[in-house]
Point group: D2
Chain length 422, copies 4
């Protein structure tokens, strides 16, 4: 087993979960230095929707570098950036009848979330935010206030000064009704926030999906109270659910959308905030950063859109693949007769297997890794296996992954005598 470098901080995590030194990657596979191949159902936590080192994107990238295209230019205009803006508008925004300005922030999701928080505060003149139970929005101190899991805050003596956590869809009965009551009651103690930020599917939180109706009601509540409705589409945007944005089928019209992870399509750091023109209250450079224009990412992001999003083919393909994927997952569970032990969540190409008993999910993840499948756990108690393969993974490989999953579950159940427990 590969030992992570002793000089790396204790904060390292995936190198512990998947103790192997990798040196090559292609499509839905990662290859260890020792030659062993792994099917990747993690996909860089959603950063590799089109697979590792996608050959079409790679070609454009190599060419650009070879020709000494501008690599770093702060936020100056470059051909790469101008082209990206044009392509993003022409093939993503315009066809969906969406009108947004693009804000290029530091190239990480958390940085874009921070910009979204500031935008909401500056645009409304208010000072508070709502996020939801089991949400994840990042690790910098602003985003961290929006992130629910106390694991990330433990030991930090920082007061949660501007955010209030509200119950997500299904957390209590009629959570929107509760929010509405709080906002209408001048003595609820809860001030009307600048913005409400929500994930349509809570990836880290346990693959919890919000319903169309709930999201629509949330948006309506925002509009009514002049609250900026912010969708954090970092993990499930860029095609993960089938459509480019995760909420396209829900007729939502968010004030702000945050994208990152798979935006560059090649795993390169990139993040943007989409904001309505009327909320674009920024002064020049008021939210700056050295890497807010990653030109290499612009090149691959443009190529990704050109390749996958000019027509609806890819979208249809993904929707079909999703059906295949969930059928395969459900088959695993039914064949093993585990419907009482494991429930399936998710949509599109993100699936969650929620285990009734704690620890099992972690053990399955370990077993699967030994068998050549990379798959991580999530949820407040890490009892949910999160399946996140590249969205263009071949069905045969999806099936193969599910087969390994099945065997791993069997092995873990046997080891734990779970039948008897259950």
């Amino acid at each position: 087993m590969h030992e992570p470098n002793i000089l790396e901080s204790n904060v390292r995590s995936y190198s512990r979960s998947f103790p192997e030194k990798f040196n090559k990657a292609y499509g839905a596979k990662l290859y260890a230095a020792n030659g062993k191949a792994y099917i990747d159902f993690l996909s860089g936590a959603g950063a590799l929707n089109y697979g590792h080192n996608n050959p079409i994107l790679k070609k454009s990238l190599l060419e650009y570098i070879k020709n000494d295209g501008v690599t770093h230019s702060l936020d100056m205009s470059t051909s790469a950036k101008d082209n990206f803006i044009k392509i993003f508008n022409d093939f993503i925004l315009a066809p969906r009848n969406m009108k947004y300005r693009l804000q290029f922030t530091g190239p990480t999701g958390t940085n874009a979330v921070e910009a979204a928080i500031k935008t909401a505060m500056l645009a409304t003149g208010r000072s508070r935010m709502f996020s939801f139970t089991n949400s994840f929005h990042g690790m910098t101190l602003g985003s961290l206030q929006l992130t629910a899991n106390k694991y990330y805050r433990d030991g930090l003596k920082l007061s949660n000064s501007f955010n209030t956590f509200m119950p997500y869809d299904g957390y209590i009965n009629n959570s929107i009704g509760y929010l509405e009551k709080l906002l209408q009651d001048p003595a609820s103690g809860v001030d009307i926030p600048a913005g409400i930020i929500v994930e349509t599917i809570q990836g880290e939180g346990g693959v919890n999906t919000a319903s169309k109706e709930w999201l629509q009601a949330l948006q309506q509540l925002c509009k009514k109270h002049g609250i900026l409705f912010i969708i954090d589409d970092i993990q499930v945007g860029c095609g993960r659910t089938g459509t480019f944005f995760s909420f396209e089928d829900y007729k939502l019209d968010p004030d702000i959308i945050v994208l990152s992870k798979s935006l560059s399509g090649y795993g390169l750091p990139m993040a943007i905030v989409l904001l309505k023109e009327q909320h674009d209250i920024w002064e020049p450079g008021q939210h700056n950063g050295t890497f807010r224009g990653n030109n290499l990412a612009f090149i691959t992001a443009s190529q990704a859109i050109n390749t996958y999003w000019k027509t609806s083919d890819f979208e249809l393909e993904t929707k079909n693949k999703s059906i295949f994927f969930f059928r395969a997952i459900n088959e695993v569970i039914q064949t093993l007769n585990l419907q009482e032990l494991i429930s399936v969540k998710g949509r599109g190409m993100i699936a969650g297997l929620s285990f009734k008993f704690e620890n099992l999910a972690n053990e399955v993840s370990k077993e699967a890794f030994l068998r050549g499948l990379i798959i991580e756990t999530c949820g407040p108690k890490n009892n949910v296996l999160k399946l996140l393969p590249p969205i263009n993974t071949a069905n045969t490989l999806l099936a193969q992954g599910c087969e390994i999953l099945s065997e791993s579950i069997k092995a873990v159940l046997m080891k734990n005598n779970v039948r008897k427990i259950a």
Copy 2:
């Protein structure tokens, strides 16, 4: 003049200061789409110490991409990462007798600063920080609290909840004495902080340099009170001052060092926190992030160290170049007989020209751009021209840049009849 894309948020800034669409870059030069060449005395605000698209680094990068080396892998172990850690330790840390753990954070300076803040708080159990007047540490809400210029906070109704600004070297007489008095007095109102973060040269703040004695006294004060001494070497580390770290000649032993900008050597997003083993209190994944392992950056960063830092040649070269550079700058001022109007600050390959009257620096920057030189302003009132060429810029090009600078100053003075004003 190039108009920045109307779809980009108002927050865009350098595309306003330097209204041109760039499409190629090489060494100390940026090339516009229209073919015009510019000498780059901005260097990505310090992210391009070895020049644009450095050919040696480029070669390694192309090869790695071509061979499908892992591009994105969260914080898993990869050959690229392991190799970087080894090279960084062998050629940067070990020869300087420095022992630090490496924390890979989201690949931006501000993210690394946020990690440093958290480390200080977790390691000491305390909840407050000190930063300094005119400091700049980033834009996410934690780093923003450490950043002095109110421009970045204007309109945000956020209380500055954990940071106190202290006077930087020269801001008042005996600022260390004042700090010491505050820390020793149980009724000063000022609690002993978890950490003190300082730039040895305040880049954004106006090219203010702290003296060796002041920094040593600050470190001593930190040690005495169990405060983590944190050096933000983002802008002036990685060789900018001649040595790899900006404080090497000062016999300092910081608890935490933050690096980013030129770390990858190629303008690729990358950031690390160096921390002493005893402060490495992190739980696995407690500060996570999708792009905390940018393998392409590991490749170029390793190559940069291999190329420039294995021997002391580059360091010596830079020191000589610095002498040439400052001589050229001083010549400009003396020739124009402007010693009363402009004072020169800085060391190594960062220089600041501080103008007695506001606005002049901005006008000179604009004039210089028209004449083919990219140079930005800094300082609380933007009255300091900051000269930040790639540190390996040829002397002839440095001279050429200074020549343009001279002409630009002349033009602006003439336009403003400054002789008469002064």
Copy 3:
């Protein structure tokens, strides 16, 4: 109509609601300088449970002053204080099998609440609090964070840094279930607080009463999570509900109890915090204050206990009076056939008449004042008339007050043609 003095700040309020200059007071009556008498159903917002200038207490007070008993002594030991502690323990605490330490704070409810907050934080090492929707706990900046009505915070750009508002009994279905879920879920975003502070009846909030079951479940939840269970009995303690503490019939065992208002029995400023010995973590003088020993208040408080709480007579009397009081109130409503327009809340000697339509309650209050009855409104929209007569008001006077109330309601309904509206 009396005009309040123009030199008094705009913050004055009751002098606006009841525009009269008063100069004498006795029992349940206030007398204006012009001789007009008013029945007082406000009782100093609960500070005059035994009536104005209660003659038995007055006698002790005069004697003490005449004899040059210590008036002011900071928190030194005095005969008056020692005697109060003894009497309070012998006749209030001991017979109820309650063991508490007494903390004398600045002589206002809000000051005692602030001490309770600090105690909870110091005793648990935690930093957050829960209070409830529609709660009122005071105006100083700590208590203000616990107070729900935004009227008191409007315009203050202070972040609510340590308190979270939770739904009070009846605010949502199963609010305790929701709290329990939040506290058990490590990713709810809601940290386990140091303390939870609750009013058994929300006086300012609209005379909302919490049920025995809800309060018991809340206490159980506190015990389970090591949260200090704090009852703010400022408005409805000291006999208002019939028993000395408002929760005596509920078998509660709070960690902290806050008392003020009627504690001195004579309207003199006084406040105490009762805290369990194990939570008495204070260092000497760590929460100090000039007036934390109001000896005149000790004298009248001791006499009040001696007079009313040595036997159970007063308690029984009040319980009977409460039956009479609520019967009279309900008669008013039934006689006017207003069951659909007005609902009755409260218990003991605090009653709330909640009006379906806003403004009516305020108009009734004005009408009643013209007719010689002082009665204020409460609730988030001021649509609840709060009836708070001295608890020893003679039944004839209670009846007289209800008669005036009836006439006032009739007059207002007529003026507003409410029958038609309803």
Copy 4:
């Protein structure tokens, strides 16, 4: 030795320093239950400027109570209150050409300070405050942020969210210059505050006096930046320095003045905020409180003004007494030849004896108590003896107190062999 009641919280403090049960008091003397008399150089920490149970005030008080004058009336108009406002305006404000509105807050200094903070924030729309090193402004969580001594905050994990401590007169060279630099520099990190609150003499902080020039410069700086200039005259107002306000000789024109302690003249809880009309931005009841109209205190406060402040006799008398007092103190030190060990601070009728070595002041306080003199220590390290006799103490009694002080110092020095140490 008297043991404080075991049922009283550990927070009790003066009952520890002065372990005696008192039961009577008159003028400058406190009498223990056992008959022992003590000279009182503590005066309720400044709450008893006219002595204990002043007979003239007592007479008015008894009469008012006897006649059933209104005791408690929230903030309704009463004859007692109207009369106080009139007398305060006619004999305190008008003759000094001062125009202020009166805000009656909860009857404690800290409550009035909280109101002042809110006023500053509401009137300026800003959110921050400045107070000074070694300041004391109270214990509620808002005032506590303004209070410098960490003893009062220890263990509370509350972020200091709105206050910044600035160096008091003499803390550093040219502290006003430093403040001015911070406020003028847009990148100092220090925002322009809503208000600056200052004590002209820091009582708790060690009897530190600010000079006329420093206070005038501070006021000028406030005016220049639109900052509310707030004087906390709680401890040294109401005649302590000779004049009614402590700053009368300094030609200051504060925006807000906070008074409490000796305002009632009889040790009764009372506090007011004086604020300029243009800052009176309050909504009715926006800062409320049950005891904000303590009518008994209005009676004695009015009588105190009538008695002592209608003419300048008392002021002249106090100034002469101050000369006598300081001469007596200095004689003690010179006679004992302790000029190197003890320095004298203060003015008017407040004096501080600052000991070079820690602990000595505490020991002297204990010795003095045994000898019948009550005198407390102050300062960050409790090394300052604070002499605060009633300002109308007879010279013979002052001399007698100084005699006891002299003996106590001698005894302590002998016990400690201080000559040798020094």
